[in-house]
Amino acid sequence: MKRKLSIFLSVLMLFSMLLAGCSGDKASGAGGDSKKVTLKFWTFWGSETRRPIIEKMVDDYNKSQDKVVVKHTFVPWGDIWTKNLAAVAAGNPADVVVTDINDVSHRAKNNQSTDLSKYFDDNFKNRFYPQLWDTVLYKGKAYGAPFNTDTRLLYYNKKAFKEAGLDPNKPPQTWAELEEYAKKLDVKKGSTYERIGFYPLWGGYGAPGWMRNADNGKGFIEGDKLAIDTPAKEDALTWLADWKKRYGKKTIESWDADFANGQTNPFVAEKVAMYVDTGTFYTQIRDSGKNLDFGVAPIPSYTDHTRHWSDGGGFVLEVPKGSKHPKEAADFIKYLTDVKAQKYWAVKNYDNVANKQAAESAAAEMSGMAKDVYQTSNENLKDTQLAPVPLNYPDYKSRIDPQIDAVMLGKKKSPEALKKAEEDVKKIKK
């Protein structure tokens, strides 16, 4: 019995090792041609719609030359960065990886990515929107290249505008107008709202965005200077809390909960008449099959004299530290950010791309609302600001968020909260 058992155990062990070993070997042998360099390329674009597009781009690149074979691997959204970090630490990372645009310099500072400036010529940066290029610089050197981006726009329901007696071709320009329009667009039955005109914190534009919009585009931390407790930001935060007061805590929280799962969107369901979201939100409206009559406009400005500041984000291509083929990787990045590939991505995915020329010619190829939205977002990029992680205060959000929460919950007044936030952030300087 004992022998039988031990034989069984060892066979099992052997079997599993063998199977595991085999698949491992096959993987490392996948490079095939020994003369060619194999580049590992990790993205989170694995969906039915995105995967064929990125793989076609990779395929085209593989066919266009005979020195490098790029192997694309899908790694789940969000988790891709955990994996990248572990791989960099162990010294066997991918060669090109898609990462968040807002912490490029943070990663560069911590030695997780490769300085690519020697592979890029002086002209290279001119293909991108300048504020996007700025995010990839750390101490004046480029640690990646922007790939795609986004920007927040105001979507408004034209049908609702007509019902409320507003001109559907005149979206609100300022915060004051926004408020005035919203009141007209509200539909209330008894004590419950059938339709809410506008609520600033729904959609893709959070409290930090509105506060920056008010403060002439100035973020919480500019370079090394803190600008958290400023009069404009205090005013903006009070303004946000007032919206919540007007609609009532219960109304806002209930709606928050009902739409939290992201399956149904309050604007698409015509429960909210005006809504801030990115350019790609258009696809969600398009795919809902509802033929919504809507328009897009830049985000209203704080006053007549300030600009229509908006928030943006996006993704960059990076070469993780420890990649064996940084030169080849940089060449591949050049290809992915060139007009042809970028335009293909923009049109096929309906996505805002970092290459300026590609973005413009993509818009030219579109028509109808698709074109409207795309063009508006292209133009909006000039007033769009990113929020790179400040190197000396990487954890700043954790000190500001609870203060904003306190104001929104009615537990603190805005000046007091922001003063505390600024003090707390000061303490965590690195």
Binding site: M1, D258, T264
Partner: protein, 289 residues
């Protein structure tokens, strides 16, 4: 002497039992409703069209049943391959953890050796440190061994015991009277034989529990395969599921259809294996009573 009292006693007992059972049934039914709503929500979403999913207020029952979502979701990627990989990993790790953990637990529960109690505290201690801080060094270790992009980091640890299961099985084994072991020892049986012939059958419900837990653990594991597998052909079904979640949009109907399909084996295994609970009960109560 029993003849006269028996029918009446029997009647009242039966009556009491029926009332009690009816009451229990009622509680269980009410609880079931609460427990099944998320499942229903998953199933109904999995059968809807994307347009219907976007509707507000959400429909409770799909207007039209799109059973094809299941086939479509499955065909968006090499899901058959991924599912087979998952089955392989789950089966191998389950066998490993049932055998090895019960072996180690037997050592801690029924054998005497120097330093046993200290080692047992160390076993418990390995559970206390949050995984985040050991994740990266562990990855570096497996990387040094050349095990990255193989199944070894996912399989080998299950053959080397896990603190949770060792502790669990030890607790179960300590409820088994020592007389059984003593009697066997008298007969000249080795401890390996006692473990296999006496301990394993007596702890069947516990072993089934470990089997169910470790199967589910492996089947639902995302972080392990995510970190250690670099080749999509080696991916597991949980990694495959992630393809429906995107940075911009989530394919809810496919995500839910695949989630339901992933759930099925774990539920089925539980449903089938719980019959051993009853068998186990007969055995232990029979021998103990």
């Amino acid at each position: 002497m029993k003849m006269t009292g028996a029918p009446k006693l029997y009647q009242t007992m039966k009556f009491k039992r029926n009332v009690k059972n009816g009451f229990i049934l009622l509680i269980l039914l009410a609880g079931s409703a609460a427990l099944l709503t998320p499942l229903w929500w998953m199933i109904s979403t999995s059968l809807k069209s994307p347009e219907e999913i976007a509707q507000f207020p959400p429909t409770f029952i799909p207007e039209k049943f799109h059973f094809s979502n299941y086939i479509k979701a499955w065909s968006t990627g090499p899901f058959t391959r991924w599912a087979l990989n998952s089955v392989f990993l789950a089966v191998v790790t389950t066998i490993g953890s049932v055998l090895i953990n019960s072996l180690v637990a037997y050592g801690f529960a029924k054998l005497k050796f120097k330093g046993r109690n200290i080692w047992f505290v160390i076993v418990l201690a390995t559970m206390l440190l949050p995984g985040f801080v050991t994740m990266v060094p562990q990855y570096m270790l497996f990387s040094k061994l050349g095990w990255v992009n193989t199944y070894l980091p996912l399989i080998v640890p299950s053959f080397l015991g896990s603190a949770f299961f060792i502790f669990l099985l030890r607790q179960f084994m300590m409820t088994i009277p020592n007389e059984f072991i003593e009697a066997a020892v008298m007969d000249g049986a080795s401890h390996l034989r006692i473990w296999w012939h006496i301990m394993l059958p007596l702890t069947k419900p516990a072993l089934i529990t470990v089997a169910i837990f470790s199967f589910n653990g492996s089947w639902n594991d995302l972080l392990g395969p995510l970190l250690y597998l670099n080749d999509e052909s080696m991916y597991t079904i949980q990694l495959g599921l992630q393809t429906f979640k995107g940075s911009v949009q989530t394919q809810w109907n496919y995500l839910m259809a695949m989630s339901v399909m992933i759930l099925l084996p774990t539920v089925l295994i539980f449903f089938i294996f719980q019959r051993f609970f009853i068998e186990g009960s007969n055995l232990s109560s029979g021998t103990k009573g």
